[in-house]
Amino acid sequence: MGFFLVMKAELVRVFIVMRRYWFRTITGMIIGYGMLMVLVAGFIYSRPQVEQGLSKFSDPAAATNFVLGFIIGMYAFSVVGMFTQGLQGMATSGVLEQLCMSPHGLITNFLAQVLVASVSTIISSGIMVYLVSFSVGGSLHWDTLPVMVLLALTFFNLLGFGFMVGGLVLVFKQVGQVAILIRMGLFGLAVFAREELLQQPWPVRLSMHVLPVTDAAICLKHVLIKGQLNAAGEHASVFQHQSFYWLLVSCVAWTAIGMSVFKVMENWSRSKGTLGSY
């Protein structure tokens, strides 16, 4: 019950801020669209051999693949960012101390905040993916159930990872800077994640599976870009994809590890007297 109350408060707050700063919201989306288009053009088409780039122009899936990866990367970037830079910002302003003194507990408050922020990110990202895909002549294969399941799993995967990093930030303030590198890594991984990565030697493969975004990106691309078709053009449900099983395992593992680490670090931070301050 407490969680829904906090989530309602967060929803109202986000809506008010979006409405009050509507011009910034809209221009933000327009700028995002423009930047993506420039990136798509720069990344895919501006190769040394222009002809080679131009030949790729006839393959809109390449652009769509990049855009989707980019968006998933941005999503991972922002979710983990809420636990690092977001947490530091709240600590600096004093809002974190108020959250720490909320009877719902810090974990519930963060969960609600990140969930609300994620929903708004998913909606705006979804619009962006469609617009960019449409602009470059690509298309996405929308399949509601798998997409929703995958987004939920991706969210909890990143959430667990974010909780772990956030917990460390509560005690070790310098982790926030290291987390920027981690976020960049996750971002890059989401852009380049594809099934071929899983053909690497097992240590590389294992580390790819451990990272919270690889399997999520592969599964989402399998549904949205490939339309759940295998190389032979036959239907291959994402729920039978090996990355989906890895995603399930890492989701449970990261959520459990993240929450536990966060709780331990919160208590440690209270003992040190640094909880809520930066």
Binding site: A9, R13, I16, G94, V95, S102, G105, S271, G273
Partner: protein, 352 residues
Amino acid sequence: MTDPLVEMRGVRKQFVTRHVLALDEETRKRRFYKRNLVDAAMDVSFAIQPGEIFGLLGPNGAGKTTTVKMISGLVKPDAGQVFVAGMDVERKRKQILRQVGVVLEGTRTSLWPLTPLENLMYYGNLKNVRGAVLHDRAHDLLDFIGLQDKKNIQVRRLSRGQKQKLAICIALIADPRVLLLDEPTTGLDVQSSRAIKDRIIEMTHGQGRAVLVTTHDMHVAQELCDRVGIINKGRLVACKPMSELLELFSEHVFVFKLDAPAGTGPLRGLPGVLSAEEEAAGGENSLVVSLATDEAERSAGFYAVMRALEGMGRRVLAVQQRQQNLESVFLRITGQPLDADGDAGPEDPEQE
């Protein structure tokens, strides 16, 4: 006597501070890494009754904020126990947070893009208050604190005093029985400071809350508090009702206002008179006489002075007992002025 709403029993807290490239005072050499232990609370014990304003007075870094944070569960004590409404803060933290409202010093607390009313609705939900109760309480609080006409203005446009008033409203939104105010009037102009002090007194005495106010401002403590604890380097060195504290350290100084100047020589040898000085201010002729602490001697000294002045042909226009102020009390207890650094503060605890 009713049960206290806040009680600290033998609470200890020690912080670690780390300094990189610090100067070693013993060897006078620069060390790469230095670790210091700072006592923020040493066997601190006190209780606050319902309807009482308890002031925690001490210099910067004396351990005041740490005490507030330990009561609100933000900092865990190393030893001892903290109780709020009879519940142990360590064991029932979540239940206790429903009973406690906190305003910490120097933080923004409120969300600046929102209005005061929206802030109260937001924090109300965070503190489990909802529906019509939340709506009514938010409006009542804005009325009470004097922000009703600002309720739809973004917080970032409010003055510092108005933001502080809003912070108090936020702390009160869950109708807590205990209110912890860390330096509530610091940096405010006289008018805002006065308004906040009045509201604090009203909500404590009128509504039966227990209020803890930390301050290093003597005037705030003297005007607000029913009882005062003086904390220095983590130790609670005195804890008494305000009047008792002032009385305890009273020097029994009397000011005799006269019609004409009088010499002090004949007064100095009188029984019960410790000192006598002339004071001419604002065109008045005053004689400042310090009398003995013992009541009988003091009484004898007082009448001896009156007779001596009569003998000198002076007419006594008025006699006033000079009030002792908290500043000199603090100085006498701790041996240092209040604006000195307490050197015990956990303001910058361990940063790793």
